[in-house]
């Protein structure tokens, strides 16, 4: 793993995964993506344990794109654990979900999510959003300095 991971994409649905990668590809962002297929895998990656035991906390992703409905551990729980731990708290998290349920939005923001996006039905709109998202978090936004992870 020479290229540092810039986007951690947490998505269980293969079709959604394919379409999201397609959209990222359109904006030349797909090669910097690591995919986790459920909440447990995402937490293993972020906390450098299990199969990701070789990773170090010094290389956090620039942004986490997190689905809410996930097998094993759902998105809200991943978010909660991430934002509770000082080693991972500063990692920007964007919730990407089909719903705009009030309950989900309230919970997400309470746990300290950095952005909340409802995936639009229109695919071109979705592609645009993915482009903007990648551009914003990877190019415009200043990532948290290492001191923010203490």
């Amino acid at each position: 793993m020479n290229t540092p991971v810039e986007i951690l994409l947490v998505e269980d649905n293969p079709t959604d995964l394919e379409l999201t990668l397609l959209a990222l590809q359109k904006h030349k962002l797909a090669n910097k993506v690591h995919v986790a297929r459920d909440g447990e895998e995402a937490l293993d990656f972020l906390f450098c344990r299990g199969v990701h035991g070789g990773r170090s906390f010094d290389n956090p992703p620039r942004v986490v794109l997190l689905d809410l409905k996930l097998p094993k551990i759902d998105g809200l729980e991943v978010l909660r654990q991430l934002k509770e731990d000082p080693r991972t708290r500063a990692v920007p998290v964007v919730i990407m979900t089909s719903s705009n349920q009030q309950r989900d939005m309230v919970e997400s923001y309470k746990f300290g999510v950095n952005s909340y996006i409802q995936k639009p039905i229109n695919f071109s709109d979705f592609q645009d959003i993915m482009g903007q998202l990648g551009y914003y978090w990877l190019a415009i936004n200043q990532p948290p300095p290492p001191a923010a992870f203490k």
């Binding site: 379409l19 397609l22 089909s98 995936k119 039905i121 979705f126």
Partner: protein
């Protein structure tokens, strides 16, 4: 009982004292009278002895007084007040009083004495003196006291017996009644009865009392029965309410889970359909089949429509699931917000807004804003064919209450179908004329239901439509204008 004894005793005492006084007075009078008679007889016998001043004869005469046991002393005095004879003969002379003239009888020192003039014919020859002791009087007095005492004791004994008997006859049953009444009221035991006594007034009273207790007991029993029935009913009702509540809660929970999963899971496949349709569309650009392109476009339009439908349905189900807040809101501010948020849609339209001064109202600002948003959006939509749309929003009095109305000069609707206006998925226009899912007015109606209000409409085809609505916070809130 004590009262009876006291009364009886004092009455008896007074009566006895009266009788005793009478007896004593009578006895004294008798005594004096007797002494008078004795004096008269003795004087008559002794007149000759006095005349001739013969002490021997005089002493003999006086000694006859021996027969009269009460006589203590007797004396005969001559005309010149000399003591001629005396009785008893052994008593020294100095023990006899000096003579006093005239008939004098008096009581003195436990005795009664009398001076009696003695006449021989018309001639006064001397004076007789007699003294009698009062022992008969005292005897009589003592006897009286004994009799009175005996009578008093007997009377008190009789009074006591009588009182006891009377109490048993009258006070007893009354006390028993009182005890029974107390037992009933203290223990709430309606089964006790007063003991029946005789056939007199008290018997009647006891019988009436027992009758009353009978009735109370019956009523009490009936009351208990109906009370327990009521409790049973109540319990059943509560059980049923609990059951229904839990059913309702679980239904609600299911409904919530359903809408949650609809919002998550129903949209995902739609996104996929649209995505692949778009990818296919991109391919058709190259392959160049115009028909295929149109089909794919139709697919995407259908997907968009479905997406809107899902969103609207979710919005409808969301109305009223949250809490309805109540606060004072300027309705004009809500209308202004709604119109400014619509700016992008209406910037190419020629719309004349006529917005009156609306009152402040107590309501949920978010929900009532939704009402305005849906009604104004409809007005904008159905005036699209008009060169100049005129949309009026104002307040007026209707049936004694205030109603807000939104009026447009659009295409209107056939008023024969106005009952259908507020139903879900009910549309009075064809989709190709005016887009929409038929949920907006249903949402409006539900919001007004939640506010204790209502909505109604009037229209004529092609002559515009008016929608009125009112709600509780609007009718009661005083206008701040």
């Amino acid at each position: 009982m004590l009262a009876m004894v006291l009364t009886g005793g004092s009455v008896l005492l007074l009566t006895s004292m009266a009788f005793m006084s009478y007896g004593v007075i009578t006895a004294r009078r008798n005594l004096t009278q007797n002494l008078n008679i004795l004096a008269e007889i003795t004087a008559a016998n002794a007149s000759a002895a006095l005349l001739f001043e013969e002490p021997k004869t005089a002493n003999e005469i006086l000694s006859k007084l021996q027969a009269e046991t009460t006589v203590i002393k007797a004396a005969l005095y001559t005309r010149d007040h000399k003591l001629l004879a005396h009785y008893p003969p052994t008593m020294p002379d100095k023990n006899y009083p000096a003579i006093e003239t005239g008939i004098i009888s008096r009581f003195r020192a436990g005795a009664v004495e009398i001076f009696y003039p003695v006449h021989e014919g018309e001639r006064w020859v001397g004076t007789l003196y007699l003294q009698s002791d009062l022992s008969p009087l005292y005897d009589r007095f003592r006897l009286y006291i004994v009799i009175v005492g005996a009578v008093m004791l007997t009377a008190i004994a009789i009074i006591l017996l009588l009182a006891n008997w009377l109490q048993r006859q009258i006070s007893g049953p009354i006390l028993q009644l009182a005890d029974t009444a107390r037992a009933v009221s203290e223990k709430r035991d309606y089964t006790v009865r007063a003991k029946a006594v005789g056939a007199d007034e008290l018997g009647a009273l006891t019988e009436a009392f027992n009758h009353m207790l009978n009735q109370i007991q019956e009523r009490e029993a009936a009351l208990r029965v109906s009370q327990s029935e009521l409790q049973e009913l109540n319990r059943e009702l509560e059980e049923r309410v609990l059951l229904r509540t839990s059913e309702l809660a679980s239904t609600n929970k299911e409904l919530e889970a359903f809408t949650y999963s609809v919002s998550h899971d129903l949209r995902a496949p739609l996104r996929h359909v649209d995505a692949f349709a778009q990818l296919a569309q991109e391919q058709t650009v190259d392959s160049g089949s115009p028909e295929l392109r149109k089909y794919v476009e139709r697919i995407r339009a259908g997907v968009q429509n479905m997406g809107r439908l899902i969103d609207d349905l979710l919005n409808l189900s969301r109305v009223g699931r949250g809490e309805v807040v109540q606060q004072s809101v300027s309705l004009n501010a809500l209308v202004d917000e709604v119109i400014s948020e619509m700016r992008p849609e209406i910037e190419n339209r020629n719309i004349k807004w006529a917005i009156g001064r609306l009152p402040a109202a107590a309501c949920d600002p978010g929900l009532i804003k939704q009402v305005f948003a849906n009604l104004i959006a409809n007005a904008v939509k159905y005036t699209r064919p008009r060169e100049q749309a005129v949309i009026t929003i104002d307040v007026e009095a209707v049936d004694g209450t205030r109603a807000i109305y939104v009026r447009d000069n659009g295409v209107g609707f056939d008023s024969r179908y106005k009952e259908k206006l507020f139903g879900v998925f009910q549309r009075l226009h064809r989709a190709e004329e005016f887009e929409g899912t038929g949920v907006g007015l249903a949402i409006v109606k539900r919001i007004l239901d939640l506010h204790g209000g209502r909505i109604w409409a009037a229209s004529e085809l092609d002559k515009g439509a008016t929608f009125w609505f009112t709600f509780r916070g609007l009718a009661t809130q005083q206008s701040k204008n």
